[in-house]
């Protein structure tokens, strides 16, 4: 396999965007072309989950490649639930590593705010098992609520720990221009004060409003190239060194221990093995905190902390910027936002910024190895990426 580098990156704000989905996809592509200095690509992958259902548009990649005037490059749309983004990066990696293409653009884009909150939640809920989950009214927040309750019972995680994840990630997002929520929150405001039950009502108990990610529009882009192309560009040598993907049962109730995220564990293990690094070598990570409980659970499953000890590390501040392993310096899905199909590419965008040393106020010092976990379904399809800064 050939080595694969990140030559250019681009992103839109993750928020409510008032322009069409094709443009949400195209602008980060334009930014990434400018960033890399490249003018042509061999292949485009567009990660998106809901254009057919939410926006009434199919064949998205064909529209985007034309919008960017990059025809006749190949173009493919990739739908893999909320893990679409990192799945598209995996396809892009394989296209370059195999020697088939030298320059591959990977875009993630989603426009969810075209519909209201309930419809957006229902659209995402269609990824649950149609007969064993969906017909009961199961949504992603309800799966997270059931997961959180069992986790709290088993490992001693409390609502305070969950709120601490939200406070940390909202704080990180304050320094991220592209984040959806620029709103500093406190434990008092969302948990302790008499107003907390109004500020932060239950959504799927024990999870409350501030345990959930917002519904966002947004796009992000990475341009992946071969070593030969990369050397001519005079950019920081950020190598996509490891990719791991794993799956788990479709219905959550079928898992032996529903507090284990087996696919996260497997995907992380494969990604680290491919990159030749260990979890303790990682300097900065973006984990898929669509719900606060997931940041804690994933930090254990990927190997940063022992099972059942993620909340203790959080208490000690080890996951803050400046801590032992900063998690979600971008604000995470919680505060940066979660445009489902774009999220995996957005996570990779943040890690590349961090490894280049371009993350400004939220920069993790001397970050050389970065990691992302993009979590699809309720943990039934997970893609983990490891990036290494060379030289």
């Amino acid at each position: 396999m050939r080595e694969v580098y990140v030559a250019g990156i681009g992103i839109t704000s993750f928020t409510r965007l008032e322009y069409p989905l094709v443009e949400i996809a195209a602008y980060p592509g334009l930014m990434a072309l400018r960033d890399s200095g490249l003018k042509k690509i061999d292949q485009l992958y567009v990660a998106n989950m809901g254009s057919g259902r939410v926006n009434g548009q199919t064949g998205l990649a064909s529209a985007v490649v034309d919008h960017l005037s990059l025809t006749p490059a190949g173009a493919v749309t990739i739908e893999n639930g909320p893990a679409s983004g990192a799945s598209a990066i995996k396809e892009g990696f394989m296209a370059v590593a195999s020697g088939m293409h030298d320059v591959v653009m990977v875009i993630g884009a989603e426009r969810m705010r075209e519909v209201n909150q309930l419809e957006a939640t229902d659209f995402v809920a269609t990824l649950t098992h149609p007969l064993a989950e969906y017909i009961y009214g199961v949504t992603l927040p309800s799966l997270a609520g059931m997961f959180a309750r069992l986790y709290m019972e088993k490992y001693g995680v409390t609502s305070r720990h969950l709120a601490m994840v939200a406070v940390k990630n909202h704080h990180n997002a304050m320094d991220n221009f592209y984040a959806h929520l620029h709103e500093e929150i406190t434990l008092e405001g969302i948990l302790d004060s008499p107003e907390a039950s109004t500020n932060n009502p239950y959504v799927a108990d024990p999870l409350r409003f501030y345990d959930m990610c917002p519904v966002s529009d947004g796009g992000a882009c990475l341009i992946l190239v071969s070593a030969d192309v990369m050397k001519k560009l005079n950019k920081p040598m950020i190598r996509l060194a490891g990719i791991g993907q794993a799956t788990d049962t479709h219905a959550v109730h079928e898992r032996k221990d529903p507090t284990y995220l087996f696919a996260v564990r497997e995907a992380a293990k494969k990604s680290f093995a491919m990159a030749g690094v260990k979890p303790e070598d990682v300097d900065v990570a973006e984990l898929h905190d669509a719900f606060t409980i997931l940041e804690i659970a994933e930090s254990e499953e990927v190997g940063f902390f022992k099972k059942g000890e993620g909340h203790i590390a959080l208490e000690k501040g080890e996951t803050k910027i400046g801590g032992k392993i900063p998690i979600n310096p971008s604000g995470g899905l919680k505060a940066k936002g979660h445009p489902v199909g774009a999220t995996g590419v957005g996570q990779a965008h943040e890690i590349v910024l961090q490894l280049r040393g371009e993350a400004k106020k939220r920069q993790v010092k001397n970050a050389k190895i970065g990691f992302t976990c993009n979590f699809g379904g309720f943990g039934n399809n997970v893609v983990c990426l490891t990036f290494i800064k060379e030289k």
């Binding site: 909150q117 064993a132 199961v138 609520g145 997961f147 069992l150």
Partner: protein, 115 residues
């Protein structure tokens, strides 16, 4: 007639699947006709639960309680709860009722009550 939720028992190894799979998860039996249809037990213990305060728009109720139940025999099922104060580990018993109404369609599923 008593309504049931059915599971799929592999004819070769006896492993019970709910929901249905084309290939047996336990022995890899790959002839998809080789399953017996067996009713799932209705009694069990509540493994975990949640109350949803913004149910999907098909539901005209303010809240919707959902849970995962470990049934007698060890199989698990996701279902709705009709229980005042649910607690992890409590004994529950299921009834097959309408769990979702769409414009021209009604879906049957398991609703659990305190046993």
């Amino acid at each position: 007639m008593e309504l049931n939720i059915y599971a799929y028992k592999c004819k070769r190894c006896g492993h019970i699947h709910y929901p249905y799979k084309t290939i047996c998860k336990n022995c890899g039996e790959n002839d998809h006709n080789e399953f017996d249809i067996v009713p799932l037990p209705k009694k069990g213990k509540l493994l975990t639960y949640t109350t949803l305060y913004n149910p999907p728009s098909d539901y005209e109720v303010p809240t919707l309680a959902l849970g995962i139940v470990e049934l007698e025999g060890g199989h698990r099922i996701t279902g709705q709860l009709n229980i005042k104060n649910p607690k992890i580990g409590m004994n529950v018993e299921g009834k097959v009722e309408v769990v979702r109404k769409e414009a021209y369609n009604k879906h049957l599923g398991m609703v659990f009550y305190q046993a």
